[in-house]
Amino acid sequence: MCVVCGCADSGKGAGVAGQAEPHSHGHDHGHVHEHVHVDPRHGDLHFGGGAARVSVPGMSQARTIKLEADILGENKRIAEQNRRHFESHGVTALNLLSSPGSGKTTLLCATIEALKLRAPALATCVIEGDQQTSFDAERIRATGAPAIQVNTGKGCHLDAPMVAEAFAHLHQHQHQHDHHGHADARSLLFIENVGNLVCPALWDLGEAAKVVVLSVTEGEDKPLKYPDMFAAAELMLLNKIDLLPYLAFDVQRCIEGARRVNPALEVIQLSATTGEGMGAWLDWLMKRCAPEAGDEQARLRARVAELEAALADARAGLRSPAA
């Protein structure tokens, strides 16, 4: 018996209604298809729909022969596949992480609306991760952006195979509906992870960057209480700052705590409700979406130039007091 969904070894996926038709799109992760239920209306994916109501990454009915000592090795392999896939399609993928209720979906809706004005040619789509329901994907679709819901069942995080599957569906869907002929232009993919400040930190999805959202209603010590997430992120969005007058939230202390865990962490303060600070967030997004941002060597060359300039400044500073 399969310990993931409770189905028999025959691979029939007992007890799962509306099984996805197996299909192929060039990736070696066939086992996912046997455990996933696809919503026929929007193509939303529901993992953990089997008898055990849990989806365990790295486990499969069709066992592979390859042995990897790294426990997360299988996930990393598929994440790298995703990364190459995103790059070849000109997609900048961002993994959005936070605890439940930090305002990720509201922020995404506001971001999509703002991007329509700021960069009308930039296509945006969303993969929504939750344990249950398609509420969030529906909210995103209301903005006009394509969205696909991934339900993890009892799972506490998205993993790389789920994202690979969701992206394939999203991509298929977009091609069907693409009447504008700019399918090869750069686009932005937001992956809204399951609301959880612990587990998703460990699972690489193939994203270009992890963005952690923290709202000021949550308490300023969260970066120190949940350090792994803040260590893994490149950017922290401090959300709901319009509520600061009503709260005893020390912004400086919060940022200091986050930088203790991750000295290189960038921070943007904003409010998705009032629009304050959204400009800086859009600037950051546009920078990440610029074609050269996808070129790792160009990024590293720019970083080397930056560091050399800082070194030259420091040297000049050392010389001048002596002179």
């Binding site: 990454p57 486990m59 066992r63 592979t64 390859k66 460990l202 350090p227 260590a231 203790r260």
Partner: protein, 115 residues
């Protein structure tokens, strides 16, 4: 909670090896979960024990080593001990630390038996 997923990943590694090497039962399994790997060792052990029945891990003696966290301190230009993220450098008190060790999460080796 993610320890259950990790236990699933471990079982898969072991079962793949069982198929490749042709063994039936694991007597002892040794894992490494570094101090900075983001894993609660007790939860991982619990998840492994929960998943073991009716698999080749049933009855296996599970040892989980916890390599100590290490980081490179930029101001000190030295490797220092770091038991948890967010702690300061024990030498200079700076937080400009880049973890370099104790982040590993892997299956080290196992003692297997053929029935």
């Amino acid at each position: 909670m993610h320890e259950a997923s990790l236990a699933g990943g471990i079982l898969k590694l072991v079962e793949d090896a069982a198929r490749r090497e042709g063994f039936r039962r694991v007597a002892a399994l040794r894992l490494e979960a570094g101090q900075l790997a983001g894993v609660e060792v007790r939860a991982l052990r619990f998840a492994l024990e929960a998943i073991a029945p009716d698999t080749c891990l049933q009855g296996a003696d599970i040892a989980i080593d916890e390599p100590e966290g290490q980081a490179w301190c930029l101001p000190c230009s030295a490797t220092v001990a770091l038991s948890q993220r967010g702690d300061a450098c024990p030498l200079c008190g700076s937080h400009q630390l880049q973890p370099t060790g104790g982040t590993e999460l892997r299956v080290v080796d196992m003692l297997v038996e053929d029935d």
